[in-house]
Symmetry: C2
Subunit: 327 residues, 2 copies
């Protein structure tokens, strides 16, 4: 059954998107082609842009409500990795004429749900047509106190490396969604798939933790920690056995349907990996406890370059590909 | 002859895009997934996003150098209409795997050329793959003093309406590029096509002119002035004979290959339409002269709603479609 035909751009904006901008005076009711954003006094703005493409980052059959939330959350995860508080966002929607109104309405509902949850409002955007698959881009705008941003270049030798939550579900979830056999019971498969589809940005942790450098796990733990290494001109050494694994990932490892290298290089968990001076361990744990996010120390920054992964005996392990490339 | 194969995302960023971000400390060398932007003290930020899609806004054979400049300029035109000074931009590149390195290199060169010209730097971005046509999006960030932005909602009844430069070339240029006969000599066709391909954002005028409300002509003069009417809750009355027409547009009108309605509703001229109180006429003309941009008074804001176009006798003219919709 075909949905309601799509109205024109201005009607779409008025009906679906202007309500999302009602609480942000700088959005100007979406009546201008630009938005005004003044950071609160004493703050600077953090901006991050991410685009998701149908067939690459989501599937045509995915519920638009969840597609919207994934789009928002991958960007919020970038703000989390900077230690920023979300403030506003801009949307760039490039969609084929055939996309019907119901899809866009449910997409807007997904945005509405998550913007309340994460405390941000729509501030502006652009809608255009394409002959190709939908490309949905979001520019997230957050605020951070000057000097407080958790830059990738801020790590120092000897700093401890931590990871939030648990690693492995998203890579497993992708396998499930691709129809590959993980050997796991159905509920574990479903949980992993949900986590792949809908990441949980670690915003409260990013804002609270006294970290030096941080990155979110989107390309894979090893690859993303590698970004901190490159930006800081350092190396990193992590102990595989310390890396906190999700229940399904542990079970799949025991079954042998995935290897530890798959888990350490699988992307899209959107946990935070961060570094902090060794003498700040208590402060890190206290901050994490305050925001109720588990954190685990997995290694330390070193002189040199690259990420080395060692086993419990301290021997270097061979980790194959460096991470998942979306490009 | 196939071009150089495209390197991976990180190499692309390092080779083509990091040099464009060298002068913006907040770009963090493009090593983070987010950028830091602090407005100068006493300013707020203006953001605008626009996406252009191959086959919709540009053609596969268009030179990538010009595609980049068009992408930047349509966004800068939005900043101009707010009276903002350009500061930085974010890029969202969604390109098929088949797009070769040479295309991207020339695209980056176009950005490099225009960012120097317009005084902005790359601050961040995202690159991803698509199975469809290239979608190129740019978020422009500018600065404006609080209260100085030329909001569409700021117009008042009785204010005079002005337009910068001359109208008509872009609509004519689009006809030329579509292979339609305009009856004009080749050099006039070429000039119109260039203007369609490469708009000239009226930044200096937007910053200098003591206007109340402004909009850039992207959907067509009548449609864009209509946006001011809607946002301000007013009507507008313009005299067709006062609208400044480009030389080619005048010639095509005389030949009868285009009608006045085509000119008044054709998009993409990227001139500014703005309103100012009647007693500010001298100040408007002085500011325009200072930045060397011609401006012409074409009518006045009224009570009521909608844009009416009148002929020299004051009789209402029938203007067909309300503007060109890119969506």
């Amino acid at each position: 059954m075909p949905g309601r035909p799509r109205p024109g751009e201005f009607e779409l904006i008025r009906e679906l998107f202007a309500p999302l901008a009602a609480d942000e005076p700088g959005a100007l009711g979406l009546l201008d082609d630009a938005a005004l954003i003044a950071p609160r006094p004493g703050f600077e703005l953090v901006t991050a842009i991410d685009t998701i493409v149908e067939g690459v980052h989501f599937l045509p059959a995915d519920p638009p409500f969840d597609v919207a939330r994934k789009l928002m959350r991958v960007n919020l995860s970038d703000l989390a990795a900077m230690g920023a508080r979300p403030r506003a966002y801009l949307l760039g929607l490039v969609v084929p004429d055939a996309l019907d109104f119901d899809w866009l309405r449910d997409f807007a509902r997904g945005l509405a749900s998550d913007q309340v949850r994460f405390g941000m409002t729509l501030a502006g955007g652009d809608t255009t047509a394409t002959t190709g698959p939908p490309c949905l881009s979001l520019t997230a705008i957050g605020e951070v106190e000057p000097g407080r941003a958790l830059l990738r270049s801020n790590a120092a030798p000897g700093e401890h490396i931590y990871v939030s939550g648990a690693i492995g579900d998203a890579a497993l979830g992708l396998r499930v969604l691709r129809g590959e056999d993980t050997g796991l019971p159905e509920d574990a498969c479903e949980a992993a798939a949900v986590r792949y589809r809908l990441p949980e940005p670690r915003l409260s942790l990013g804002m609270a933790v006294p970290a030096s450098a941080a990155v979110d796990v989107s390309d894979g733990l090893v690859a993303d920690l590698g970004h901190i290494c490159v930006a800081s001109g350092l190396g990193a050494r992590i102990e595989a056995a310390r890396v906190p694994l999700s229940g399904p990932a542990r079970a799949a490892l025991e079954l042998g349907t995935v290897g530890i290298a798959d888990v350490l290089t699988g992307g899209d968990d959107y946990e935070l990996v961060f570094t902090a001076p060794a003498d700040r361990g208590n402060a890190v744990r206290e901050a994490a406890a305050r925001v109720r996010v588990p954190v685990t120390r997995i290694g330390a920054m070193t002189e040199g370059e690259g990420v080395s992964v060692v086993d419990e005996a301290g021997a270097a392990m061979e980790i194959g590909r460096a991470g998942y490339a979306h490009f």
